[in-house]
């Protein structure tokens, strides 16, 4: 099945906060243009894994990692321009952050960093990203409003729009729908299925069904260990690790 080079590859990746181990010896690959799900109970190391890809350890006190973590075939520690790495990766974390700039400037932030100056071009990017994040209809008349004063759910979608505005080759989503209503979530999920053509998506979710709807393959994390990586459907048909099956069937205690 595997012929292309993996977009993300981790080999024996371990993550620590001070003395506390958050993830131990994880090894797997994420292929280009796939949606890769990660599920698992709380504190199993899902978020920590995403943080490594974006080198968020550089501003998280006490966070360290060891082992291999490659993006685009290069170890994330070997990039001489860390900011270029981050520009390539869009992230959406569960706590929504609307920057204290206008909605427009929030979404135009990354394109401007990348050197886009033309008003028309920026307008187009802003509209496209806000539409994809299912936020356009709600804010199109108040693009000048402060992003930090939107409602929680709107801020979360604004964060998604910002991540998309980077035109990333990798999109990391961490419980992106936590503050978003089910109907809107469905709309965003449809967009993600389309976006798959353009980028690789890693989807951390607490909603097993969301993983089932979207993910091609899914990893199951448990207490800092990557227990299994399998085609998503295998989790439900019982071909995967029994602990993973217990989890998706809600028999986990």
């Amino acid at each position: 099945m595997v012929t292309a080079t993996p977009e993300i590859r981790v080999q024996n990746l371990s993550i620590q906060y001070g003395e506390k181990v958050a993830l131990a010896g994880a090894s797997f690959e994420v292929m280009p243009n796939e949606i890769f799900g990660i599920i698992g109970p709380a504190n199993s190391g899902k978020t920590s894994f995403l943080k490594v890809l974006n080198r968020m350890d550089t501003f998280t006190p006490g966070m360290r990692f060891s082992g291999t973590a490659e993006v685009g075939g290069r170890d994330v520690r070997s990039w001489r321009n860390l900011y270029a790495l981050r520009r390539r990766i869009g992230v959406v974390f569960p706590l929504p952050v609307g920057l204290p700039l206008s909605v427009y400037d929030n979404v135009a932030f990354a394109p401007r960093l990348a050197g886009v100056r033309g008003k028309a071009e920026l307008d187009a990017i802003v509209e496209r990203c806000l539409r994809r994040a299912a936020l356009w209809d709600e804010v199109k008349d108040r693009l000048k409003a402060l992003g930090s004063l939107l409602s929680g759910g709107q801020q979360q979608r604004l964060t998604i729009a910002r991540a998309l505005s980077q035109e990333p080759s990798i999109l990391l989503l961490d419980e992106f729908s936590i503050a978003v209503d089910p109907v809107t979530t469905m709309r965003i999920e449809d967009v993600l299925k389309e976006l798959k053509q353009e980028m690789t998506i890693v989807l951390v979710t607490n909603l097993v069904q969301q993983a089932r709807r979207l993910a091609d393959r899914t990893a199951f994390f448990l207490m800092g260990e990557c227990v299994s990586v399998s085609p998503t459907e295998a989790l439900f048909t019982g071909d995967a690790d029994p602990r993973a099956r217990d989890y998706v069937e809600g028999r986990f205690g």
Partner: protein, 289 residues
């Protein structure tokens, strides 16, 4: 909530007493401010006039106005700001946005605390040894301003750092995650949202600088120089030193003259403080997140 058992009654009564006691202590601390202001106005008010502000002292400083002192203080404050504000903001940016948690950062913090705690007369000695003698500025506005700048540097650093740290960390992380460098993050998000707080601190610094006496006594301020400074290498009169001089060194000064000087000085300082406080209150109301 209360049941009227004797124990609770006693507690409640003691609570009331303690409250009043502490209120009294607080009042005794802050009442003098109002008293002092009152006395200064009562005794010095009669000296105030446009002429007092905008003419030069005459008759061996027993009459006339305080223009050279006023202008001199403005020179000193402005040049001190030109030196200390950029350095102070840079230091605060370093500490708040760049500094790793290591021994050097701790040393810098300790140095700032110490710089703030060094007696003003020691700053004066430093000014003499460094700026007047070693760097050869002589007793001049330049030397006095530099001395003031070093002395008030910690005020700028601490207030700026506070303003910077009032910007939530999550905003920075959101920017970094989009690939913004630290400087881009500072320029686009951190500074625009802390600039008013930084200004508040700078205004506060102005008020401190304007009132200082000891650091300028031997570095550039003169007792009596009835003309305006023309360059930074001139000496100058200053409001604070002028008050000291008319209060202690000049015989036969009419009673209301030194009170008038004190009133103008404290008026300047408190006005700056009031602006800074008003600014801060306005900031707190105007929530951006």
């Amino acid at each position: 909530m209360f049941d009227a058992t004797p124990r609770n009654l006693k507690d409640a009564r003691r609570e009331g007493l303690v409250r009043i006691l502490f209120l009294l202590m607080t009042a005794l601390l802050v009442l003098p401010v109002l008293l002092i202001l009152g006395v200064l106005v009562a005794k010095g008010g009669s000296a105030l006039s446009w002429d007092f502000l905008f003419t030069e002292p005459t008759d061996g400083m027993t009459a006339g106005g305080l223009l050279p002192a006023l202008v001199g203080t403005i020179w000193l404050v402005v040049i001190a700001l030109i030196v200390s504000v950029p350095i102070g903001i840079a230091a605060a940016l370093y500490l708040s946005e760049y500094a790793p948690d290591n021994w050097l950062t701790r040393a810098i913090n300790l140095a700032i605390i110490n710089l703030a705690g060094v007696p003003s007369i020691v700053h004066a000695l430093f000014g003499v040894g460094a700026f007047v003698i070693f760097f050869g500025f002589g007793t001049s506005i330049l030397a006095a301003s530099f001395t003031l700048a070093v002395m008030t540097l910690p005020v700028v650093i601490v207030s700026t750092r506070e303003a910077l740290q009032a910007v939530p960390q999550s905003f920075r992380e959101a920017c970094w995650n989009m690939g913004a460098t630290r400087w881009q993050t500072i320029r686009k998000v951190v500074l625009p949202n802390s600039i008013s707080g930084i200004l508040t601190g700078v205004i506060l610094e102005v008020s401190r600088t304007a009132g200082e006496t000891a650091p300028i006594m031997f570095t550039g301020a003169a007792f009596f120089l009835p003309f305006l400074p023309e360059s930074v290498y001139d000496q100058t009169m200053a409001m604070s030193l002028h008050l000291f001089v008319v209060a202690t060194q000049v015989p036969n000064v009419p009673d209301n003259l030194p009170f008038g000087v004190a009133l103008v000085l404290i008026g300047m300082v408190l006005a700056m403080n009031a602006i800074s406080i008003a600014f801060r209150t306005w900031l707190r109301r105007k929530k951006k997140w």
